[in-house]
Symmetry: C2
Amino acid sequence: MADPVVIGLSAVIVAIREGEAVVLTVRPRDGDGRASELAGLPFGPFDPDAHRTFELALRAFVTQQTRFDLGYVEQLYTFGDRGRDAPVANMGPGAAPSRVISVGYLALTPQAVDTHAPDTEWSSWSRFFPYEDWRGGRPRALAVLEVALRRWAEMGRGAEAASRLARARLAFALDGAPWNEERVLERYELLYEAGLAPEAARDRGEACGAPSEELSAALGEPMISDHRRILATALSRLRGKLKYRPVVFELMPEAFTLSALQRTVEAIAGVALHKQNFRRALERAGLVEGLGRLETDTGGRPAELFRFRRELLSARPASGLSLPLLRD
Amino acid sequence: MADPVVIGLSAVIVAIREGEAVVLTVRPRDGDGRASELAGLPFGPFDPDAHRTFELALRAFVTQQTRFDLGYVEQLYTFGDRGRDAPVANMGPGAAPSRVISVGYLALTPQAVDTHAPDTEWSSWSRFFPYEDWRGGRPRALAVLEVALRRWAEMGRGAEAASRLARARLAFALDGAPWNEERVLERYELLYEAGLAPEAARDRGEACGAPSEELSAALGEPMISDHRRILATALSRLRGKLKYRPVVFELMPEAFTLSALQRTVEAIAGVALHKQNFRRALERAGLVEGLGRLETDTGGRPAELFRFRRELLSARPASGLSLPLLRD
DNA sequence: TCAAAAGTGTTATCCTTACACCCATGT
DNA sequence: ACATGGGTGTAAGGATAACACTTTTGA
């Protein structure tokens, strides 16, 4: 009756490095030891006999695979749709399973330590989602995508065309629609549905009709199997959670300046924030406490160092940060 | 290496009935056809060959098991910890799997139709979580739990005692701490950890030290395997989501009065709301549109009927409702 | 002395909260 | 007439968004 299934675990491990949000990626090797062309997330099979919980299993294999110790971890989503490439985990020569289900996890860490593990590196978000960064104003990639999306919309029959256009407008802030930074997954899925994301053609088993260099760059780099979908899910979740839970601090060192905190929030949310209003909101929330010490090498006037009042986590329905947008 | 695992699907199907939030429960039968003493959620094995996605599989088995068609569905969480009873799904006489992983889903439906399926019924939340309903002020069950929780806290050694007390205070609004309706899962897990929830003793394989009638009633009815945990996850998610996505409307009929809408929100959130402010917030959000028609059998002045402007779902970053609390 | 980045003050506006009151129907 | 529930107005206080300005360092 119900066939057994193999469970895989995938980890989106996020850190901040030089003001950019980065993700730990790997290049898995095939049987002949050749590294894959595409990057992927750290992933591994879940062995129910060896581990009591998913989370323990995840921590174990990530440490083993990337020599990296996870801190904050949360479950994201369980991906099980057919029609997407199954992860090619190294499961030895047992009976090949008919289906791989993967449980995605989001992990946050305060320092993007170089792991020196083979085939492992920190990659910027924008490598995979070049259109998600609005810190410097509307990203150029969007102009390129807009053309392709409109063409796709026009190809719809009857009411389909209008509906496609409406969805594209909303997701990608076309024709003056407001940008919503949380809808990362929606945008990725639209690009997938429109057949623009290279993964779509690959999953259908078709050769992709090589898009222009420019369009390829605007779409971002594809990843192994459904890993870019998992990454999009992680970014959506993280951008949303930022606002109602104090998760940013999991990405910060013990002591930090308010500007560094703001740059971190901006890197995650992909939008520029209003300095004073950001600080006022922080202060009102009481999330942070001055240390009296100063950071001197800021390039200008020294900045006071602050710490997250971690004790609040257990002491209050601690809320997240508001994102006072900076208009441009 | 990685042993295969069987995946089960569980559904928390929520509706509103006579102003109460209700959940579809079943009483599974064992081999001899005897119905279980405990209620459970509808659940079934996931057959990867028969179904392309989890969601399709879920819809199919729920319809088959309860004769009920699901509308709104979202994935909740994937539960895989060892140490909790595995669901006893009817999987025929194949090789017994070593572990069952269950993917929980939340479903919302506008009418609590009687399904007339055998062993299936609509149960009020409060049967399983009597302390979660603050609509009529602080629930009496909390006074009973408070005594038991303080006893548990005192049993901790050293700093453990203080930490237990602090956690209990926050989760259960003791000593003047504010009530946070979203922390349903946290409360359930605290009761489980404290050994108060009957499931805890059962999972440890111990006989439970029969608590008083009164305490039992305050703790709520236990469920099969980890279903009460799944239910708590669902309630937490739903209470949170209410505030940032217009999900309530999935529980309403096409046309409804504003009071009925408010009663629905109150039933889900378990708190009483301020009428005028609730309406003002609704109006500002523009979520709802008057139909001009009136509902006459209200018991007083007839009320105008409204409809949810469903077109907004695709047209805007539609937000949820604010919960303007009514203080008492 | 100037650039660069830190940090402060102030205002108009909007939203939230809280109060009290009027309206239309059935019995 | 009155009980019951539907529906409205308005003012105080707090949060947000937007403005421009001062301070402290290194080069």
